[in-house]
Each structure stands twice: as C-alpha cells, then as structure tokens.
Amino acid sequence: MYMTPMMLSSSLVLTLNILLYPLLTALDPTPKKPQWASTHVKTAVSTAFFISLIPLMMFLDQGTESIMINWHWMNTSTFDINISFKFDHYSLIFTPIALFVSWSILEFASWYMHSDPYMNRFFKYLLLFLVAMIVLVTANNMFQLFIGWEGVGIMSFLLIGWWYGRSDANTAALQAVLYNRVGDIGLILSMAWMATNMNSWEIQQIFFLSKDFNMTLPLLGLILAATGKSAQFGLHPWLPSAMEGPTPVSALLHSSTMVVAGIFLLIRLHPLMENNQLALTTCLCLGALTTLFTATCALTQNDIKKIVAFSTSSQLGLMMVTIGLNQPQLAFLHICTHAFFKAMLFLCSGSIIHSLNDEQDIRKMGGLHKLMPFTSSCLTIGSLALTGTPFLAGFFSKDAIIEALNTSHLNAWALALTLIATSFTAVYSFRVVFFVTMGTPRFLPLSPINENNPAVINPIKRLAWGSIIAGLIITSNFLPLKSPVMTMPFMLKLAALFVSIIGLLSAMELAAMTSKQFKTTPTLPLHNFSNMLGFFPSTIHRLMPKLNLTLGQLMATQLLDQSWLEKSGPKGIASMQIKMSTHASDPQQGMIKTYLTIFLLTSTLAILLMLL
C-alpha cells in the first residue's frame, strides 16, 4: 500500500543521481577518454529516461504524486528554505520527455561535434544544463526554482558562446544573459514579495495564502520573468541570436527545454493567476502579439536555423496565449508535443547543415529530397506537426488551444492575431520545405551526402515517432483538468485548419512565383520590415546603450559638480535673482519728469475729490 510512493520517490532520486554521476566523475583531474561523452553521458541520460518512465507509469495507474523534502537547508524560526522536489502531473510528464529529447540530441551531438577537440566538455555542459532544467521543473519552492532558473541561464550563455573565437557568438551569448537578467528582475521581485508578505517560498503555502492578498504585483513580476526567459515580445531578440551556438545546443536549449522554463513557471504558479483578470489579459495580449510578430519575422528569413528559432518564439507566444485563457494544462500539453517536433526540426537542419559543409542559407540548398530522403521526410513530418496537421502531435495541443480561444469570450483582437500567426506558420514551414527539399540543388558539388550514420538517423527516427504519436498518447492517457468546451459552431471548430490551409495554399502560390519572371526586388516595403526583424534589434540595441551611457556621462560629469555645487547654490540663486530683478526693473524706465508730472496730476485730482 505504501510501496507506490516509496517506489516513486526512489526512482526519481535514482534518475537525478544517474544524471549527476557523470558530472561528479568529471571533477576528477585525470583526462577522460574521447568516447566518454558517448559511453558515459549518453547512456546516463538514456538510463535516466527509462527509469523515469517508472514513476510516469505509476502516476498513470494510480495517480500518485509526491513531494519529497530532502534537506532542511536554511531554517530560521520564521523562514524555511528546504531542498524539496515536487513530482506532480507536470514534472512527472515533463521529465521523461525532456530526457527522451536530450537522449536523442546527445546521440546526434556525438556525430555533429565529432571533430571538436573539446567534445567531452560540450557534453558535460549539456548534462549540467539538463540537471539544472530538471531542478527547475521539480522545484517545490521558489528558491530551488531560482537555482534552476539561473543555472539554465548560465549554461545557455556558456553553450551559445561555445565557439568563443567568433565575435557574433560572444555578442549573442551576452545578449541572452542580459535579456534573461531583465526577466530575472521580475522573478526576484515576486520572490521578495512572497517572502515578505507570505513568509514562505514553498509553493503549497503560497497557494494557500494567495486568497488573502492582491497578487497583481508578484504576478506581473512572474510575467516579466516569463517574458525574459521565454522570449516574448519586448525581450525576444536573444532567441534568434542564440542560433550562433552549435545545432545540438539550439535543439536542446532554445527549442524544447530552456525557453519553456518561463511558461512552465507560469503554469506551475497558475493557481495564483486564475482570479486575477489583469494578469490573464496581459498574458493573452502579450502572447498574441509575440506569436504574430515573430511569425511575421520568420516569413522572410533565409537562415534555416533562424526560421526555426522564430517558429519556436511564435509557439511560445501561443503557449502564453493559452495561459492567458486560463488553460495551463493545454499550455503544458503544447510544451510536451512542441519539444518533439521542434527538436526534430533542429536535428534535421543540423544534419543538412553538416552535410552541406556548414551552409545555413536556404537560398543555397535544394533538391535534398533525392539526396537525403530520410532527413527531408522527417523535416516535412516536423513541419506538418508544427502547423497542426490533423492527428499528428501538434494537432492535439494546437487545435485544442485555438478551439479554446475561439469559444472563450475574451479579446477578439488576440484571437485574430493568433489565427493570422497560425496561417503564417503554415507559410514559413512550407517555405522551408520548398527551398530546402524541393527543386534542384543550388549548392556546390561537394563530398557525397549520405545518411549512413546511425548516430544521426536513430535520434531523428525516435523523435519522428514522438512527433507522430506523442500527442495521441498524452491526450488519451491524461484527462484534462478543466473540461473543454464540447460544442461550438462548425466554422469555429475548423478555424485553425482552415487558416492553415489558406496559408499553405498562398505559400504554394508565392513559391511558384519565385521562379517566374517578375521584378527581382519586392514591391512592398513589408519585406524589409519582416527581414530586419521589425527593426526591433536595430533600434533597441543602439538606443538602450546610448541612453544608459548618456545618463552615466551626465551623472558622472554634471550631477555633482554642475548640479549640486553650482546650480543649487550660488549660480542657481544668482540666476533667480537676476530674473526677478529684470522682471521688476523692466517697467521702470527712469523717466523722472513723467513720473513727477503724473504724481502731481493724480495728487491734485485726489485733493479736489476730497474737497468735493
């Protein structure tokens, strides 16, 4: 009877320890064999995945969830900080999925980074990132979540700047850190508020006490944190720049796991938000704006990794919309299904890039349908799943979200933006598939492209299976916590499919026009807007530093000397006095005779009046 919680907890602790073991052995100064990465790290992650399936099965069978408090870390008489893990519906499903995706990515990375002299270090960083992510996901208190949050931020910095000789990579890594930092301000604000008002960082206590407080301020802080980490509009440029890192990094961090941390935070703390209309509306509108803006930017990009990065950003906006609709479990479902097909899209593009000798521009790819049939078909499957093709993985989550959006009586503007973004998803997915796989090759004749290596094919195959069946498996085994709207008008039910098909048809028409004889440059100015990412990075990355530096210069040179020593003292008083005296002395023009005459006249008048 009590076996189940014990088995659950022990298998989860075992999972974490299996993941930590290669990291601890890496502290040993003796150098590792070159195959350490493949033999130790990859097998650790795959073993951890299989073991984490045990708690998942137990949760499916009996619905057991557990909270483990492992260590009373810092306890005062009024405030407790413990190391406690919460294994509930969200973390029990997310952990196996994250481990599965990481396993595939690590196997792929053993091929992709094969010629890299520091491959062991690369795998160590990826494993450390994975541990930080799992700490974040399973955290039961805000402090542990913050540890995981910062951990994934730091590992993102180290991994984006993996090729640190490249100045663009360093810029991108710094950009990621700075934008995440701005989001961290929000998280720290919320944590401080909770510590002072609720006297605890434990999630259960926060939920219990939240009914007594007006939670608007911490919720806005949490939304700011999610904006930074999950690249919502306003703090989004770091995500496309993060494509400077190697493709396995993009696949693991910036598509499946790290960028969903912000959304996961909001999902985890959703009970705080349920009754706060301001927070929900903010999420809805911010998410809708993000998803449309980034989908617009993705339409005209030419770098295959940037297109997939923008599509990630667009899907994150969609997840934010779902949270704004008060449907956290749908957002979570979308996180899970999105992990599969987005990681697969990145792995396919990585395979293509490596085969074409580091060529990332889709204008110089083509005809890969015949040369790399498996990769191009998996790219197509991933794109179809992304657009929400019926009964693939993305359909179950995306269609449910759009249905919920259609039938809710909320902001119609957000609905319109999200539908337009859904059609854009179909457009840019088709654009990628058209330029990469169809037609004739536009690249130079290179070393023969092959798909012989099982280290490439097996991960993509596993993720392809996941993209096809994961949606079905998850939705058929886990009941929704909120009952969805069961009846709706026919057009609303089909709205997502309809706009995707419209997008696809218009994309096919436009793609057929690219090889016809029209003007070479686009006639509308919108192309420049989309291609330059809405001019957002161009303005903000120059404006903010300029403002800050000008402020710094003013403070350094003028604040003390000019303001406090001169203007508030002698010179200020002097200028005031001069102004006053000029105002007072202007009327006086020294015409004594006129003044005397007027004086005599008025005094004569007054005496006459008095005598009368």
Binding site: G165, S167, Q301, D303, N357, R363, T514, Q517, T520
Partner: protein
C-alpha cells in the same frame, strides 16, 4: 597600392556586388542567370563611354540604384566575414609558444620535431635583428600603408616576420 580606387575598380566592384545581391534576391539559378545577363547588358552598353564626367555620374546613379535595391540579408559564404562559420575555430587555434611550455615527457614523444625546433629558434634569434632593420628602413615615416610585408631584399636574408607566418595555425584546426 595607391590610396584611391580607379574608375575601373569602382565599376567592377559595383558590378560584383550588384550581382551578389541579385543572386540573393533571385533564388533560382535560371531566373538569376536571366537577370544577370540583363544587368551585364546594362553595364556593357555604356562601357565604351569616353567622357569621364558622364561616366562618373552614371556610376553614382548606379550606386544609388544599388543602395535602393540591395538585399537586407545578402547571401554571405559561411567562411567569409559575417558568415555563419567565420572565425568559428579561432578558439582552437593555439599559439606556437605553448609548445615551449610542454612537459619534457610530452616533448619526448616528438623528439625529432623538438630537436629541429631548437635549430629554427636559433635561426630566428639570428635573423631577428636584420628583419627589424629591414622593416624600419622600408616603413614610411607616418606609418605603414598596408599590412603586406615586404620580401627579403638582400642575399642570404630571410623575409621579415617569417616566424609568425611559418608557425601560423591551420585554417581549420583539428
């Protein structure tokens, strides 16, 4: 090289960059070839212009047209500056003086290389003074005009800064 570009150089540079941007716009090769031939025709019909004033005005108009029609994200080769794998392997390029810091047991694994290395270092010490002297003689008073190094002028001399060239890291380190 002189400090200014000749008219021919300017025209050719305009032609090449407009062809590259045209290639960025016209993705398919047959369409690109068509428009490239049209562009070549436009350049060719004015190539016999003898009046330099008119030719310079046409060049200026061409540059304006290029600026208006350029591609915001032109295609860059991966290894060229601004490309995706430019300077990617800089972090693996170790300078050669690290070899001096190897442990003797490591150096013993490559005895013939390190024996020869001692001789090369002696040669470098010997020729250094003459290299510096040659460079000081040949550099103009207000600083060097370009980064190109002159060859060895005298008989029995080594080219200046030959050591940096000989021991440069590979383009693609292992």
């Amino acid at each position: 090289m002189a400090a200014y570009l000749t008219h021919q150089q300017k025209v050719l540079r305009l032609y090449k960059k407009s062809l590259r941007h045209l290639e960025s716009w016209c993705i398919f090769r047959d369409k690109y070839r068509f428009y490239a031939c049209l562009l070549r025709g436009r350049f060719d019909e004015n190539k016999g212009e003898k009046d330099m004033v008119k030719a310079t005005k046409m060049l200026k108009a061409g540059e304006e047209e290029f600026w208006a029609n350029q591609h915001p994200q032109p295609y860059l080769f991966p290894d060229s500056p601004g490309g995706t794998s430019y300077e990617r392997y800089e972090c693996y390029k170790v300078p050669e003086w690290c070899l001096d810091h190897w442990h003797p047991s490591e150096k013993a694994q490559y005895p013939d290389y390190f024996a020869k290395r001692e001789q090369w270092k002696k040669l470098r010490a010997q020729s250094w003074e003459r290299e510096v002297q040659q460079l000081q003689e040949e550099t103009p008073a207000d600083g060097p005009k370009s980064e190109a190094l002159p060859p060895a002028r005298r008989e029995g001399d080594l080219p200046p800064l030959w050591w940096q060239y000989v021991t440069r890291p590979r383009e693609r380190p292992m």
